[in-house]
């Protein structure tokens, strides 16, 4: 038997799948080899994400430790590297509680859906030239579709737990996810317009100049939006340990909690990969034909470090302020970005609709100016929106401010 992947198959552009499919097709029926090819892809994906999550957990705990001027986990294994393994081992053998009054099906399904979304997102990211595990021609759309699944999972988790804090967390989480989806989609539109394709592989090749320079505003909005969707500080209201104890996953224990954590940290890794691909030109770099994957890894690391750094530094916003930030700050910014990019592309493109590197540089200059104008402008506009009232400035300690002086102030 000789199986050949049809031209119109959505995964035709994925070499690994095609090779495995054709290789297995030599010995097995086509349906089975298609299944095996898919399984191989999934196997790699799941392991990559889980391993990525484990590495990220270790890195985060060590780095946060150092940012806080302490050591971090260093006792189990070299540099404490076995720490995530120990965590996982312990969570697997820990008692798995399902609270009374919980909706069992939703309660069990929620963490699985969370992990699934984190894993699926990585599928379309090209690791190097022609090495996306699934090179979809609608890659960008797929990323958006998959990330919005998380909101369903969070709602399921929070609602099924039969716990008021969990419900609070779920309501917050869903509100945040839905709000931030909008500016994220809008700034992805800008990326798609410049790249001229929805396939992530094409987005990478279109970045003769990295899009962080071409569309700084889009990058800013996208990173802010992603960190909100990932529930990371300063937008981590869904978990909000100091307020909601653990938010939507308050009732989860054992391996289910482990899955939620894996999804959370794996999500950061995959989101970093998507950001690196969309804005930092993915695997492209010197000698990218040979070490494209290394470039991608480095870029993922940089973005992940940014996430860790921000998490270790900032406090959390309140839910209404997060909403205001999304709708009153990020939304207009993403619209401006979309308008600017559309107009630029309209005037700069040649007859075939393509953009040259020079065009990109021109756009860079214009968009940087837009960025520099818009952020302070909208910053000052939002200032009065998120703060309820204009207040007197706080007084400085006046030298010699004595009791006698202030005695008259009593009303």
């Amino acid at each position: 038997m000789n199986c050949v992947l049809a031209e119109d198959n959505i995964l035709h552009g994925t070499p690994l799948l095609r090779w495995v499919y054709e290789l297995a097709g030599l010995f097995l029926p086509c349906w089975l080899s298609y299944f095996i090819a898919g399984f191989v892809i999934m196997f790699i994906l799941v392991n990559a994400v889980l391993l990525g999550a484990a590495v990220f957990v270790w890195t985060e705990r060590r780095l946060v430790g150092r940012l806080q001027n302490r050591v971090g986990p260093n006792r189990w294994g070299p540099f404490g590297m076995f720490q995530p393994i120990a965590d996982l081992l312990k969570l697997i053998v820990k008692e798995d509680l399902i609270p009374q009054g919980a909706d069992k099906i939703a309660f069990v399904a929620a963490p699985i859906i969370m992990v699934a979304t984190a894993i699926l997102m990585l599928a379309v990211v090209p690791f190097a030239k022609n090495t996306a595990l699934a090179d979809l021609n609608v890659g960008v759309l797929y990323v958006l579709a998959v990330t919005s699944l998380t909101s369903v999972a969070i709602l399921m988790a929070g609602w099924s737990s039969n716990n008021r804090y969990a419900l609070f967390g779920a309501a917050r989480g869903v509100a945040v996810l839905i709000s931030y989806e909008v500016p994220v989609v809008l700034c992805l539109l800008g990326v798609v317009i410049v790249a001229g394709s929805m396939s992530l592989a094409d987005v990478v090749t279109a970045q003769a100049v990295p899009f962080i320079l071409v569309q700084p505003l889009a990058m800013f909005v996208f990173v802010a939006g992603t960190s909100a969707e990932l529930n990371r500080t300063p937008f981590d209201v869904a978990e909000a340990e100091s307020e909601l104890i653990a938010g939507y996953h308050i009732e989860y224990s054992g391996i289910k909690f482990g899955l939620i954590q894996a999804a959370e940290f794996g999500g950061v890794v995959t989101a970093s990969a998507v950001i690196a691909t969309l804005f930092l030109s993915g695997w492209a770099g010197p000698a990218s034909n040979y070490i494209g994957w290394l470039w991608l890894l480095i870029k993922i690391g940089v973005v992940a470090f940014l996430f860790i750094w921000i998490r270790a530094t900032f406090p959390r916003l309140r839910i209404d302020q997060i909403m205001a930030f999304a709708w009153k700050f990020l939304m207009p910014l993403s619209f401006i970005n979309l308008m600017a990019v559309s107009l630029e592309v309209y005037f700069l493109r040649d007859s075939s609709g393509a953009l040259t590197t020079t065009d990109l540089w021109i756009m860079t200059v214009i968009n940087l100016v837009v960025f520099a104008v818009c952020i302070p402008l909208f910053g000052s506009l939002i200032r009065d929106k998120v703060r309820p009232a204009q207040l007197q400035p706080t007084a400085r300690a006046t030298p010699g401010a004595t009791v006698q002086q202030a005695g008259g102030e009593v009303t």
Partner: protein
């Protein structure tokens, strides 16, 4: 057309990461907004006042350590002042200075805790808290030199302090005072003008001054509402009449101002310690009082200090025996909570946590 929503009553505490111990609130929420609040106390009520009636005057010092366990020195001070009022004695000068130094160091440590946990409640991943603790550990090392313990110090005694500072204390204190401004400025850079902190705390849970006074609120919370009242100025005890310091006052009485006042007081405390180090002279540190004290019967005393949380006072009544006949503790943390309902109602769940942090309560003192 507003949507009708179901109110939901939630128990916050006694075990909740941000109730600063075992405080409990019953809250009716409408969505995230707080409609009604009922604070529930007593989860750390240990009967200190009763136990104090069974111990002699010096032994009670060990109980006062455990009231507001982040400012033990100041608790000791309030109690010792009360006993000294009963006995009508005054400690020697060096003792007074050592007390002042210890109390001000403790105030720095306590305010750092207040600030650190306030920021923790704001949702930082512990970074400012870690920096606060880093400075606090150095203060605790100094305490270990003075009295051999980190938290439950029992350093002060009626009539002075139990022992002079060891010789290596002074260079260590000097080093600490040299490092302190740098560490504080780091903390200020990190968080004092951070936009997120501003947005989260300015204008939130304001406490008007007349309400603050009528509700017997004291300490930084009162000063944040606009009254420059500090018992160290009004009724100077120990060495406070010999040092210069300012009383930081803020205007708005919101969460940010309470936090800001504490930040400013750190500098003032350091200033007081520096002056004490300059002024202190050799001499005895403790009056030669008997181990078992017997004040005259029928006397009463109201020993009052400006503690880190507010006005801390011990009301002692003596019947001539070896233990206080009545030892009432006027605890600032409890009385500052009188305004809980006013501060919380109408704000959101997230603000509630932050407001509790900014009032800076300590359950050991609230429940005693």
């Amino acid at each position: 057309m507003p949507i009708r929503t179901e109110p939901m009553t939630v128990n916050v505490g006694p075990q909740h990461p941000s109730t600063h111990g075992v405080f409990r609130l019953r809250i009716t929420f409408d969505g995230e907004e707080i409609l009604e609040v009922e604070p529930v106390f007593g989860y750390l009520h240990r009967g200190t006042e009763k136990l104090a009636e069974e111990r002699n005057y010096v032994q009670v010092v060990t109980l006062t350590d455990r009231l507001d366990y982040v400012s033990s020195m100041i608790n000791n001070q309030a109690y010792c002042l009360a006993v000294e009022q009963l006995l009508e004695v005054e400690p020697p000068d060096r003792g007074k200075y050592l007390r002042t130094i210890a109390a001000e160091l403790q105030r720095i440590a306590a305010h750092l805790m207040g600030i650190g946990f306030f920021l923790q409640d704001l949702g930082t991943l512990g970074t400012p808290l870690m920096y606060c603790f880093r400075t606090r550990e150095k203060i605790l090392d100094l305490f270990e030199m003075l009295c051999g313990a980190r938290i439950t110090v029992s350093y002060l005694r009626p009539g002075g302090v139990f022992a002079d500072a060891p010789e290596d204390f002074w260079p260590a204190l000097d080093r600490f005072l040299t490092d302190l401004p740098g560490e504080l400025s780091e903390l200020e850079q990190l968080i004092l003008e951070n936009e997120i902190v501003m947005v989260r705390t300015r204008g939130v849970s304001t406490l008007p001054l007349d309400m603050a006074i009528n509700s017997s609120v004291s300490g930084p919370v009162l000063r944040a509402s606009g009254l420059a009242w500090d018992w160290r100025k009004a009724e100077p005890y120990d060495a406070y009449d010999r040092v210069e310091f300012d009383v930081p006052v803020a205007q708005n009485g919101d969460n940010y101002d309470r936090f800001w006042v504490r930040m400013q007081e750190l500098h003032q405390s350091a200033r007081i310690v520096r002056q004490c180090v300059e002024q202190i002279e050799p001499g005895p540190v403790r009056l030669d009082l008997p181990l078992v004290l017997r004040p005259e019967p029928g006397r009463e005393a109201y020993g009052r200090v400006e503690a880190s949380k507010g006005e801390l006072a011990f009301y002692l009544f003596s019947d001539g025996g070896i233990s206080p006949y009545r030892c009432k503790i006027r605890s600032p943390s409890l009385i500052n909570l009188t305004v809980t309902e006013h501060l919380l109602v109408g704000w959101k769940l997230a603000d509630m946590i932050v407001t509790l942090g900014s009032v800076d309560i300590n359950m050991g003192e609230v429940d005693r």
